[in-house]
Symmetry: C2
Subunit: 297 residues, 2 copies
């Protein structure tokens, strides 16, 4: 068939058994329906309706066709209904990528509420390094990513989500260091430093900062997770470089203490990134605007 719209006229005519009523359903006039049916009949070289004095009835072939057209239309309706549901947030999928610890400490708390409000939206969280996240955003495998800024990529939209402050924390026998300001050089020279693994942006950040200050930062211990950084510091194994917001609980509980550093550590911006030429899914928009409280353009 060269024109699927004809099937719509056929469908309603078959349902209503009356061209005029079908026309009303289709919001067109009766001659248009008549014409459409005729075109369809000619295209298929069959008679689909018996024209009776008081309406039309399906021929055998018409009835055969109707069965299939009916199924096809139900199929399309079903698809459209499901898409409407996705648009209305009653179902859908939310795929978010976040680098390293941002997932647990920034995203997770907000996701809880989102999940309560939209339990049928399937969550898919991936984590990886910032380049990995960017890659997946570009490939369309995730809806958006949460990464540390700055980022310069013209094909991405970057929204500042929050700002975090890194700091050195100590616990156990090193807790007393908190009383007096220290310089980074002092720390590096006299205390065991615990840093995140080399690949992390956090590690690169402090390493570069130290280098600018002419300090060579050589960690005593390298760990692959923020949780371990915290635990090692709590155990008094050394001084961990962590994001302050991520250790709030421990600081308030007195299990960790923030060291006063003579040099100031610049805050680091956390951003939401997604493809410029791609529309965010309704679920993404809802999460970003309503839960993460980030204003979308």
């Amino acid at each position: 068939m060269e024109n699927l719209e004809l099937y719509r006229a056929f469908y309603w005519t078959a349902v209503e058994r009356n061209l005029s009523r079908a026309a009303e359903r289709l919001f067109i006039t009766q001659p248009s329906v008549s014409h459409a049916i005729k075109q369809l009949e000619e295209a298929l070289s069959v008679t689909l309706f018996n024209r009776m004095p008081k309406g039309v009835t399906l021929t055998e072939v018409g009835a055969l066709l109707f069965e299939h057209v009916d199924k096809a239309f139900r199929e399309l309706e079903s698809a459209e209904r499901q898409i409407a549901e996705i648009n209305n947030l009653v179902r859908g999928e939310l795929r978010i990528g976040s680098s390293d610890s941002l997932c647990k400490y920034y995203l997770l708390p907000h996701l809880g509420q989102f999940y309560n409000e939209h339990p049928d939206i399937h969550l898919d969280l991936v984590h990886g390094t910032t380049p990995e996240i960017i890659r997946q955003v570009k490939d369309g495998r995730i809806d958006f990513g949460i990464v540390r800024l700055p980022l310069n990529d013209d094909s991405l939209v970057t929204l500042e989500a929050t700002v975090v402050q890194d700091c050195f924390v100590a616990g156990g026998r090193f807790a007393e260091l908190a009383s007096k300001p220290l310089s980074l050089a002092d720390l590096a020279a006299h205390y065991p430093i615990i840093l995140f693994a080399k690949t992390s942006s956090s590690r690169q950040f402090i390493q570069e900062l130290a280098a600018q200050l002419g300090v060579e930062l050589q960690p005593e211990i390298e760990l692959a997770s923020v949780d371990l950084l915290i635990e090692f510091a709590k155990a008094g194994m050394g001084i961990s470089f962590v994001t302050k917001q991520f250790v709030m609980n421990e600081l308030e509980a007195g299990e960790l203490t923030e060291l006063k550093l003579k040099e100031s550590i610049p805050p680091r911006r956390i951003g939401i990134v997604y493809m410029k030429n791609r529309r965010l899914s309704p679920a993404s928009r809802a999460l970003i605007e309503q839960h993460l409280q980030v204003k979308l353009p």
Copy 2:
């Protein structure tokens, strides 16, 4: 959706993963496809494709939609294929109505050959009185009818199919009557007459003919089937009024003998009738033209 044609563009784009190739499939240009996809996306308020440097890929929603569109299209294709088969006589249905004995003696012999040639065309034979057949033709319940002519109904097409000759036949002890010509009055007065039931056109025919000749035809025996008319005559129970063509076998075998009547019985025309404003199915056309050897207009 207000325009089903957009789904076609969507379908091929999803299959080809490339707007330009989809355009080729659709015999339109790439910008048209691009435009169509865009319209569909706006109508559904979703993004269906990720535009990649080397083509497009389906988004999650796009993939969901594709499943359904694919099914819908298969459904329509299936319908169109079946209709094509009906047009090509590899399948279909043939619904024929014939009054009384015409079915067995005229139609059946030809149907055998038709069935051999087109074994997958379903045959549906209905028989009834001429008015019943006409009614069913008009209601579209049968494709065409085979009835005795004349018939004056402007909404029907009437084609003369064959001509039959009625006659009186006898068997057994009455067979000797065949040697000398008899008048209808003689027959009516001195011999037991066996006629078909009152409702039949055959009965009305001979009754009217007799009345015109001033003869009152009072049957000794009334029967409801041609077979019984034949059997009773063969058994010598009386003289049956039958269609000569229907008793050919018995005449040739000598089981029955045709009486010589002084009056001539006019031949009766048998016709094919169908609705003027309805197209005959391919199967009907084939049977009528090729097997019944009746030329269609």
